[in-house]
Amino acid sequence: MEGAIFIVERRGDVLWVFMRWARRDLRGALSLSFLLALVALAASASWVTPYSPTAQDLNAMMAPISSRHWLGTDDLGRDTLSRLIAGGGASLYASFLAVFIAIAIGVPVGLVAGYIGGWIDEVISRVIDSFLSFPAIVLAIAVTGALGIGLTNGMISVGIVFAPQLARLVRARTLVVRRELYVDSARCLGATTIHILRRHILPNAIQPVIVQVTLLLAAALLAEASLSFLGLGIQPPEASWGAMLARAYQNMELDPTQMYPPGLAILLTALAFNTLGESLRITLDPTSTTWR
């Protein structure tokens, strides 16, 4: 049923569909617009930043907000707005990387566990349980302690920690879907397991994953900020929102205003991801009638 609705919508004018959605669910539409604008801004960072994000101007250190520096400068005279835009790119890249890895591991593992069942499911479920016992950031810190410090290393391990959450979700959905009549008939017609998983199980098990992925993007953004804040993520002089907060923390007593731009950026972006996840949950769930 829902599939049909989406096909009809895809034929219509994208803008018109978006406007109709916005009238029904303003928060969701605003969140999506905000995130798309952010991605566009980050992608075109090298053209739109007024200054180089790493260029130091020692004549304008900790400058206040002015027409030359819209958000002021940091303790090395670097333009805060430029660093905010460039840092947004790094933060978003890190979040998408972690969630991509979580999907790449979690979805196939969950499908296999749920569809095949038996002792394979039992083993996979215990592995999922053990990974879920690790406090996410702690394992990421430990992995950077082993692999060496770097944003990519850290975010890969965040992705690995998130993967079991998706795997558990997909497994639970697969257990339900595999009993459906159309799966049985596909099997009777001689479809291979791979074909059934790809064409019949996955499309019907993916709904909760889409919602969870949006929520995980917010969690990954916070994880990146934490790792970079601790000095285990992105390395100076490169900017990310977490690294900017680390810098602001060191100068907290001299210039507390430095902590507002990156902190608010993280807050708003995480809020947008969460709000979008919530509206997707309601939009995709056919049984839900309440808004919120």
């Binding site: 215990r126 592995v127 349980d129 053990s130 990974f131 016992s133 690790f134 406090p135 996410a136 950031i137 702690v138 394992l139 810190i141 430990a142 992995v143 950077t144 302690g145 082993a146 692999l147 060496g148 410090i149 917010a218 916070l222 900020a225 934490s226 804040f229 601790l230 000095g231 285990l232 907060l245 602001a248 923390y249 907290m252 007593e253 507390p256 902590m259 902190g263 993280i266 807050l267 708003l268 995480a270 809020l271 969460n274 709000t275 309440t290 919120r292």
Partner: protein, 317 residues
């Protein structure tokens, strides 16, 4: 009869925890495999003497097969020997025993705040679902979930410590030294940590309460003439209390992770500072020891919640 089945379920939960503990320790040990190059040379650092490298090689038994290394390490860990820091030479268990109380105090305080503030907010929102108070509470809660807690910590320090001078900005006092001092130092970090927890408890409680309160059985109670307050307490909260227990169990795990960063903001010598410093200096035994201790605490606490859940829930009988 029913108590017999309950104890069977409890035994099954205990048996399931066994493999999880073994797998978790295996993951902790396997972290060693991620160290690039010759493990002993990398961990010994630059300009290390041959004797030092040989010592690390001996510590992990690197010339033996992986499974033997793991078994030897697990055997020692089970006996409380988590080996010693490569830098300070202090036994890791001693460092953990010194640092864990600071972390636990903050997490416990934050958890207490999350429960005492989150439950009334969740009940208030659910009782007036759709009304203005519901909207206000849920908006604040969505902010609480999205706010980076260490940034909140920085805001709290700036306001309450640097500007108003009401509370100390950094540091920690052990409970054994001064109970008052310990709580005063733990208050701001716990607030920073609690924001997400309060929001989480509020949202989950509201969601499950709204679901129960809109069920046909509750509609019948309304028609029977039972007062809304009685319905809320006797039929609403009693039904969701088991859910709530699960939420709080998960919250503990999440706070244990979040405290790592909050500790850095408040310069608290807890588990977070221990593992972050160790990770930066590649002090691998300390990294492993901290992860091991935290995972054990989480696994055992989850097990305890699971068992409590089984015992409390009358539907499992």
């Amino acid at each position: 009869m029913s108590s017999h089945r309950k104890s069977l379920i409890v035994v099954r939960r205990l048996l399931q925890a066994g493999p999880v503990i073994v797998l978790a320790t295996l993951i902790v040990f396997a972290l060693l495999k991620l160290v690039p190059g010759d493990v002993a040379v990398t961990l010994a650092g630059d300009n290390a003497s041959d004797a030092r490298i040989a010592e690390i090689r001996h510590l992990y038994g690197l010339d033996r097969p992986f499974i033997v290394q793991y078994a030897a390490w697990l055997w020692r860990a089970a006996h409380g020997d988590l080996s010693a820091s490569l830098i300070s030479r202090e036994p890791v268990l001693i460092s953990i025993l010194r640092c864990f109380p600071h972390t636990l105090l903050i997490v416990a305080l934050a958890l207490a705040m999350a429960i005492t503030v989150g439950i009334p907010l969740g009940v208030a929102a659910a009782a007036r679902a759709g009304a203005r108070i519901d909207g206000a509470v849920m908006t604040v809660a969505s902010l609480g979930v999205a706010v980076p807690n260490f940034w909140l910590g920085m805001l709290l320090v700036t306001l309450f410590a640097l500007d108003l001078n009401w509370l100390p900005a950094t540091g920690a006092v052990a409970l054994g030294e001064s109970v008052r001092g310990a709580f005063i130092h733990a208050f701001l970090p716990a607030c920073a940590l609690a924001a997400g927890g309060i929001a989480e408890v509020t949202r989950q409680l509201r969601a499950s309460l709204v679901e129960i309160l809109s069920s046909p059985q509750v509609r019948t109670l309304h028609m029977k003439g039972l007062s809304p307050a009685k319905i809320m307490w006797r039929h609403g909260l009693k039904n969701v209390s088991v859910n709530l227990l699960t939420v709080i169990g998960l919250l503990f795990n999440r706070m244990l992770a979040a405290t790592v960063v909050v500790e850095a903001v408040f310069a608290i010598p807890g588990m977070g500072s221990l593992i972050v410093n160790a990770a930066i200096h590649r002090d691998f035994p300390v990294v492993q020891g901290v992860v091991f201790a935290m995972v054990m605490v989480v696994v055992l606490l989850n097990l305890a919640t699971d068992i409590l859940y089984t015992v409390l829930d009358p539907r499992i009988a």
